[in-house]
């Protein structure tokens, strides 16, 4: 479904992403792992058009989407959540998700119908699914960190995506919030049949939900394969664990 080929991006000569390769099949959950600064977020930014790659290509469902601006990428039904919470702080929880749906339905050029009468059912439905429905009228600046991360995902869902990219969805969450978030991600894949690409530092989570794993180190893809293949891959251990003999986990 998504195919990334030898993608590269440097910042002032520093190669943040250097020959990254990735393929994701329809319906899969794929994890990207790698140490801090490996270039995971940058890779996601390249896929979603927030950054333009220096070289390499991104194909989605056979179509070349390399270098498209984010709003066009989004219209291909690719949505993402951000590692650093990236929401609308002056709007309410409800409005945050609503804007996302309005945008997908191309209603944002409508000047005279009150927003409050549009797409309310669908917005409520999404809030229900992610468990934020009681907090719908709160200004998002007043939410806890965990709830904001969940709202991140809810906003991405507003775009009714086929392909969902989650950048460290559970980062900074309390243990029970993390558990709920994992359940949510699983149900998105299971019930809604979304294809999911995510990155995460917690190996337990990664091996728990990913079908396949791609390992990145210093901007480059070292290996992509099933959990078992990755777990005992020597190159991964060298780079990732500084050459210890044990398998990861």
């Amino acid at each position: 479904m998504l195919e990334v080929k030898s993608l590269s991006k440097s910042f002032d000569g520093f190669k943040a992403v250097n020959n990254a390769n990735l393929d994701v099949q329809k319906g899969e959950i794929v994890a990207v792992i790698g140490p801090n600064g490996a270039g995971k977020t940058t890779l996601f930014n390249l896929i979603t058009g927030i950054l333009r790659p220096d070289s390499g290509t991104v194909h989605f469902k056979g179509e070349n989407i390399t270098g498209l601006p984010p709003y066009k990428v989004c219209r291909k039904r690719i949505s993402r959540s951000f590692q650093v919470v990236n929401i609308f702080p002056r709007l309410t929880v409800f409005e945050n998700v609503q804007v996302s749906i309005l945008s997908r339905e191309k209603k944002t050029w409508n000047l005279f119908t009150p927003s409050s009468k549009l797409v309310t059912d669908e917005t409520s439905q999404i809030l229900e699914n992610v468990g934020l429905v009681e907090k719908r009228d709160r200004t998002t600046a007043l939410l806890s960190h965990g709830d904001r991360k969940v709202l991140e995902i809810a906003m991405a869902l507003g775009g009714d995506p086929e392909f969902l990219i989650l950048d460290e969805p559970t980062a900074g969450m309390a243990p029970e919030e993390t558990a709920r978030c994992i359940e949510l991600v699983k149900s998105l894949s299971g019930k809604l049949g979304l294809t999911i690409l995510f990155c995460e530092h917690d190996m337990e989570i990664v091996f728990g939900i990913a079908d396949r794993i791609m390992v990145m180190v210093r901007g480059a893809t070292i290996v992509q394969g099933s959990c078992d293949e990755v777990r005992c891959n020597e190159a991964v251990q060298d780079a990732y664990l500084g050459g210890s003999d044990v398998c990861l986990m």
């Binding site: 979603t48 058009g49 927030i50 601006p69 984010p70 709003y71 989004c74 219209r75 949505s79 993402r80 951000f82 990236n86 929401i87 609308f88 702080p89 002056r90 709007l91 409005e95 609503q98 804007v99 996302s100 309005l102 945008s103 997908r104 209603k107 944002t108 050029w109 409508n110 000047l111 005279f112 119908t113 009150p114 927003s115 409050s116 549009l118 906003m155 991405a156 507003g158 775009g159």
Partner: protein, 318 residues
């Protein structure tokens, strides 16, 4: 808050206030009626700025250009063509909207502060053209004694016209703020990157907002022609732009009616102060500093905060 005010009892208060406004010409002396007209149209101007500043997060620091363009558009058609005067009232705002589109199109590729700098430069360019082009615009003299349709020539009727048009425009802008476009605009203000990522073409939405804001500023300019019968280049000068920015901040730039309140305070104060001293700019500066320190959300923003607090606390205690 406004939503609550427009429902139930709030609606009655609004109706009463508007009826009172329509009755004022029977009570007020002519000078105060003139002052009130100026407050209304300047409030309209400030509200139009706030559409892009407070709701859109766009630093349009030279908004007076569109006010002047609307006024000159109307005045030039009234004095130099035989067209119906009513056409001039539409052409003025359209000229402003077009100018808003052009200047916006050039500036919008820059972000925040750079947008502001370029916008001020281009606006000043327009001012210079108006100021220097004697044969067409009357240069620094401006245009005086602009002929108006008979029905608008009495000061009472000019006031009624201003009041009605201002109310209609406020209503329209309020609708726009509550519309999906308004929601998108506020999203863009809060977080443009996220907006792009949920599929919104940020620059195009901003451009439309700039055009709409230009249009309503142009309406305010046309109203000035009706109220004052003159136009002059100072209407496009950047000091006026600064003043309307201050009106938005003072009244509350995250509230819908804040800019109108700000306009009322500043104009009333200026009229009052300038009978005592010539240091109006000094007073304005001190006022601005006080607002920034003590009322960062403006007067109406402060009131709204208080109401919200009084409203939320009992709910939490239950």
């Amino acid at each position: 808050m406004l939503k609550g005010m427009l429902e139930g009892r709030g609606r009655i208060w609004w109706a009463a206030a508007i009826i009172l406004m329509f009755l004022l010409p029977f009570i007020l002396p002519r000078f105060y009626l003139y002052l009130l007209s100026i407050i209304l149209l300047t409030g309209l101007l400030a509200t139009s700025l706030n559409l892009v500043l407070g709701y859109g997060g766009i630093f349009q620091f030279h908004h007076a250009v569109f006010y002047g363009a609307g006024a000159y558009g109307t005045a030039l058609i009234l004095t130099r063509t035989g067209l119906s005067p009513w056409i001039s009232f539409i052409v003025g705002p359209l000229v402003s909207a077009a100018l808003g589109l052009i200047i916006g199109w050039v500036c919008i590729r820059l972000s925040k502060l750079y947008f502001a700098m370029l916008q001020i430069s281009l606006g000043s360019l327009v001012w210079i053209i108006v100021y220097r082009w004697y044969s067409f615009t009357g240069g620094d003299d401006g245009i005086h004694g602009i002929p108006l349709p008979d029905i608008l020539s009495s000061s009472n009727n000019a006031y009624y016209f201003t009041l009605a048009v201002t109310l209609i425009c406020l209503f329209a802008m309020h609708k726009i703020v509550r519309s999906p476009f308004g929601s998108a605009l506020q999203g863009i203000r809060d977080n443009p990157v996220r907006c792009e990522m949920i599929g919104i073409n940020v620059k195009r939405h901003q451009l439309l907002a700039l055009m709409i804001a230009g249009f309503f500023a142009g309406v305010a300019g046309s109203l000035f022609v009706v109220v004052d019968n003159t136009v002059f280049p100072d209407m496009l000068f950047w000091t006026l732009s600064l003043e309307i920015c201050i009106m938005c901040l003072l009244g509350g730039w995250f509230t819908f009616l804040g800019p109108m309140l700000g306009a009322a305070i500043i104009i009333a104060l200026r009229t009052f102060v300038s009978t005592y001293t010539t240091y109006w700019a000094l007073v304005l500066g001190i006022l601005m500093a006080l607002v920034i320190f003590f009322l960062p959300n403006g007067v109406l923003g402060y009131v709204e905060e208080k109401i919200k607090k009084g409203f939320i606390e009992p709910v939490i205690k239950e």
